[in-house]
Assembly symmetry: C2
């Protein structure tokens, strides 16, 4: 455990680092989402920008930055890889909010994409954003070795697909109205949210100098644990926080009969479980010493967030 006073005293430093990272990612996303809205098909390009820009905590790119610091990666390269992950995340939100899925009207404090535009456009926004993510992964130099960059692109594809995020969504659909055990919930969330959070850290790492296999595994373990913690906290916030604080409809899980960590173990135990996961994640970083402080601060940020 590395929750020493040096890190606590640095919390304002972390806030500054995170804000700078968020600004960097926002600028990169803005550039990647050119062509500007006046180029055909206009409505689609506008809607793609609407879905991605100006919102979100950018947790995944921040994780890529923090992991990239461990492997001395060029932040410009990490920003591109992190932006690709964020674009995948943004597309998944647009599709999840569609009427045939979660049927939600509010996201990041704004009307969801299909409400602001229309369903067909929102469908195409998601589709085109997924393509864009893979374009970003392949049209810029993200690391010195093209073979490694192919491997990175493969990791993102697997994390997005039927054995990752999309598969997790399908498991989520099948679970509505059922009671799940904790291991079943974990299986669902390791796919649904965990895979993309994990790949964000791995891509950040791989932009830089390769770590030893053992160090790589430590970061991977950290990312897996923190990905799960993210979801546990998400479930707690859905039950505990207000729609205003979240910028998305609160209480949806219970309303839709979705099994969550809160419905399965209750709020108190769910909070304790998130805390445990954070402690285990910190343990995975022990051997790095101060080099991994940004990752530790991010773990705190993820677990202690209020929205």
């Amino acid at each position: 455990m590395r929750l020493g006073s040096d890190r606590v005293s640095n919390s304002s430093d972390f806030a500054g680092w995170a804000a700078a990272g968020q600004r960097h990612i926002e600028a990169v996303l803005d550039k990647l989402l050119l062509p500007p809205p006046q180029i055909a098909p206009q409505r689609l390009h506008q809607a793609m920008r609407y879905a991605v820009l100006g919102g979100g905590k950018r947790v995944r790119p921040l994780l890529a930055f923090a992991a990239g610091e461990l492997s001395q990666a060029d932040p410009q390269r990490v920003a591109l890889a992190g932006a690709a992950v964020e674009i995948i995340h943004a597309y998944s939100l647009v599709h999840d909010d569609l009427p045939c899925m979660d049927d939600d009207v509010l996201r990041r404090g704004k009307p969801t994409c299909h409400v602001e535009y229309d369903e067909a456009t929102a469908l195409l926004v998601g589709d085109a954003l997924q393509s864009l993510a893979f374009q970003v992964m392949t049209e810029h130099t993200l690391c010195d070795d093209a073979a490694v960059q192919l491997e990175m692109t493969k990791l993102l594809a697997i994390a997005s697909g039927s054995r990752g995020m999309a598969g997790g969504q399908a498991i989520d659909l099948e679970a509505v109205g059922k009671e799940l055990t904790v291991p079943e919930l974990e299986f669902m969330h390791i796919h649904k949210t965990g895979a993309i959070i994990r790949v964000a850290a791995l891509l950040g790492l791989k932009c830089g100098v390769p770590l030893s296999l053992q160090e790589h595994t430590y970061v991977d373990t950290f990312a897996k644990l923190i990905g799960l913690a993210f979801q546990v906290v998400d479930d707690v916030l859905d039950a505990d926080a207000t729609t205003e604080a979240l910028g998305k409809t609160a209480g949806k899980d219970a309303q839709q009969g979705k099994p969550t960590y809160v419905s399965t173990m209750g709020v108190t135990r769910a909070k304790a479980f998130a805390e445990e996961l954070r402690a285990d994640a910190m343990k995975a970083l022990e051997s790095f010493g101060d080099r991994a402080n940004r990752l530790r601060e991010l773990a705190d940020f993820i677990v202690l967030r209020k929205s």
Copy 2:
């Protein structure tokens, strides 16, 4: 023009070549769409197989094979690249058939994916298939140079995205109920159908030994023209052929008020236009001599097809 009697007498040879290519692609797709249906999420994996296997003319992979013959590419590698393109095509059909898009119930003689399963599953099938296509492009060796393989993956991403297929769909949506000029129609179809047909040929080429820039441009021009011809013929068949022959609902374009080559120029002129495009495409191949015969036969196959 190379429509000599040698090629006509070889038509049975072409049929055999095409059938062998279709079998090859089917086997590769079957393998790529493992895990078998009993692995979680079961329903999603079943539905992905349903959407891709056992149907379709596989025109795009055949184009990849024929182009690959020009660059002495390893057919095993071309099959993987062609399968990735076909998976993108299959995902686009699943999403296009959804109620918020074309709302169609019949595809390849079977109920569409959202009719056989449900809308949410069909949405995820399309999403997961797109990821799978990029996984296929990056987890197998498709050419000797990893940098070229990254470039190939980029070409597929661009052809799929907002400046390719998804963009074409958006233009199509905006065009419903409008009258388009021939250049506007062309702009729409170069995106919607053309981009993916074109990239199939380019990926087939790039699996092999690089051609000269001029030869590469000839094949690219051929693929662009034949991609457009494909759509003109599609419009003619939608107006002319029966639902039974097509395996999908005939007459949908007129019913939905979609501008087509038939609505814009009438059936007779549309047929003549397809013939012109085929002639121009053949001209682009002139300098290759007999080496490009498979591409020529494919052009005939595309323009003269009845379904």
